[in-house]
């Protein structure tokens, strides 16, 4: 190889290494922040329902602190290269999605949409080719929420909150219906979707126990889901 050509190539490779280092620094920062959030969210399993709003209140600021890192990160990514570097922060972003969606559910019992999630994380639409929130990462985050809620259904009952499993059951079933509408390939998303049925089974069993023993309050007209035997 011509020495100049060789130097040119090594130089280009060096620049990619530099870029990678810079991205890594930001991802490390983001991970630190998501870990703080997750640390607080762990406490939902031991927090009685009346103390839940205060807990949610305390976790909100950590959720909004991601924005700062994400806006630095986007400055580093060259035009059109979102997908080239994305793998480096995929896990962090999925954790962030999980946190945002779970907090929204615990506050308002509703599903945070993809656009709303992106907004909370401070991901701007105009960044498209440099940084975005892809559907797959959002969906992966949702599945983690379901995993977490199946635990919460159990732990809520332990703490004497018998309504929680029923609310969770309704929410999770809706999500499951949504996921069933997707044409999933034999990939990671598919495997995680397949695992949802175990979460649903776990939640159903809790609902079954609570309903049969009449621990839950009298159902509204359509509140109580059918119990699978």
């Amino acid at each position: 190889m011509d020495p100049n050509e060789l130097d040119k190539i090594i130089d280009l490779l060096d620049r990619d290494v530099e870029l990678r280092e810079k991205i890594k620094d930001q991802v490390t920062l983001l991970d630190k922040k998501t870990r703080t959030t997750i640390g607080i969210l762990n406490r939902i399993h031991s927090t009685p329902s009346e103390a839940m709003p205060a807990l949610i209140e305390s976790v909100q600021p950590t959720l909004l602190s991601y924005r700062e890192v994400i806006s630095t990160l986007v400055e580093i990514i060259p035009e059109n290269q979102f997908w080239r570097w994305k793998d480096m922060w995929t896990n962090s972003i999925r954790t962030a999605v999980f946190a945002a969606v779970l907090i929204e559910y615990l506050s308002n019992r509703t599903l945070l949409s993809l656009a709303q999630t992106a907004e909370i994380l401070g991901i701007e639409e105009k960044w498209g080719d440099r940084l975005a929130l892809p559907v797959e990462d959002y969906l992966q985050g949702l599945i983690t929420v379901v995993n977490e809620l199946s635990r919460l259904a159990v732990n809520a009952v332990t703490m004497g909150n018998f309504e929680e499993p029923i609310k969770i059951s309704l929410f999770v079933k809706d999500l499951f219906t949504g996921f069933s509408m997707l044409n999933l390939k034999n990939d990671l998303l598919r495997r995680r979707f397949d695992s949802l049925k175990y979460d649903i089974k776990k939640i159903e069993e809790v609902v079954y126990d609570v309903s049969l023993r009449k621990l839950a309050p009298a159902p509204g007209s359509s509140g109580i889901p059918k119990v699978h035997s």
Binding site: D2, D129, P217, G220
Partner: protein
């Protein structure tokens, strides 16, 4: 007892329709690109066979290997243009940020293409094709239709060494074949040294470097054998070529049967190398 009312649908299912469209688009495009990449791999392999076939020439040992190499390169270029056309059709599939999203799907075909292209280039010029020259074959008046990455460029070239080894060894019995083997040996040694500097940057390169080492060793062994045998005769390389040529042509004169068998042997050797 407290009662709670729940809206039976806290989740708008409609949004999943959009997700489905998004995932379907991704999966369909991915499939199309994998297929295109496979087609390109196929065509590239055919081009490489074509280059070997023409560069080796017919049974006439008097054919000038230099002329044959040039001829092979020209025909190779024509075949490679078919691949370039396939790539130009991929432009809409890979625009904007899409290229990097599907880079892993198109990379295998691209490396195979670079292997074929760089082989033709070597036969034509005796040099390594540059990054810019490769990129140049993947653009037209409207600009680049397929962006070249450094890693694909280097990995494609790394495969070239295997082809050159085959080229050198299968041509070694021809007029000028020994000189050619020496040239290839020097060239491959240079490539290996250059690529060594890049191994820390490109993950897959390390494995390919060890294959290159094996190829290099085979050529070196062949060159060694030639050196030892030549030294037993106090004659110039040209005169040695003449002696070999004479005995081969007298052999061909006695009938075609044996020569055909000879060719078959050579091809089976090639296949062994392919593993």
């Amino acid at each position: 007892m407290s009662t709670f009312t729940l809206d039976p649908h806290h989740v708008s299912i409609d949004i999943f329709d959009n997700f489905r469209a998004d995932l379907d688009d991704y999966n369909d495009r991915r499939e199309r690109l994998i297929k295109a990449s496979r087609d390109i791999t196929n065509l590239s392999k055919k081009t490489i066979f074509l280059l070997h076939r023409i560069a080796q020439g017919s049974h006439d040992p008097n054919e000038d290997s230099h002329v044959l190499a040039k001829k092979a390169a020209q025909e190779g270029y024509a075949k490679l243009r078919e691949i370039q056309t396939l790539y130009s059709h991929l432009r809409p599939e890979l625009g904007g940020d899409k290229f990097w999203r599907y880079q892993r799907q198109v990379s295998p075909g691209l490396q195979e293409y670079i292997e074929a292209l760089s082989f033709a280039h070597y036969l034509d010029h005796g040099t390594l094709i540059t990054f810019d020259e490769v990129q140049h074959t993947l653009m037209d008046a409207q600009g680049v239709f397929f962006p070249l990455t450094i890693s694909d460029y280097v990995l494609g070239l790394s495969d070239l060494t295997g082809e050159l080894m085959r080229f050198a060894i299968s041509g070694i019995a021809r007029r000028g074949g020994r000189k050619k083997a020496q040239d290839v040996c020097t060239f491959v040694r240079g490539c290996k040294a250059d690529f060594e500097r890049m191994t820390p940057y490109i993950r897959e390169l390390k494995k390919k470097q060890s294959v290159t080492s094996q190829s290099l060793e085979k050529i070196e062994d062949a060159a060694y054998t030639i050196m030892v045998r030549t030294s037993e005769y106090d004659l110039s390389p040209e005169m040695l070529d003449d002696i070999v040529t004479q005995s081969i042509s007298s052999y061909i004169g006695t009938g075609r049967q044996p020569s055909r068998r000879g060719r078959g042997d050579r091809m089976s050797d090639d296949e062994d190398e392919d593993i």
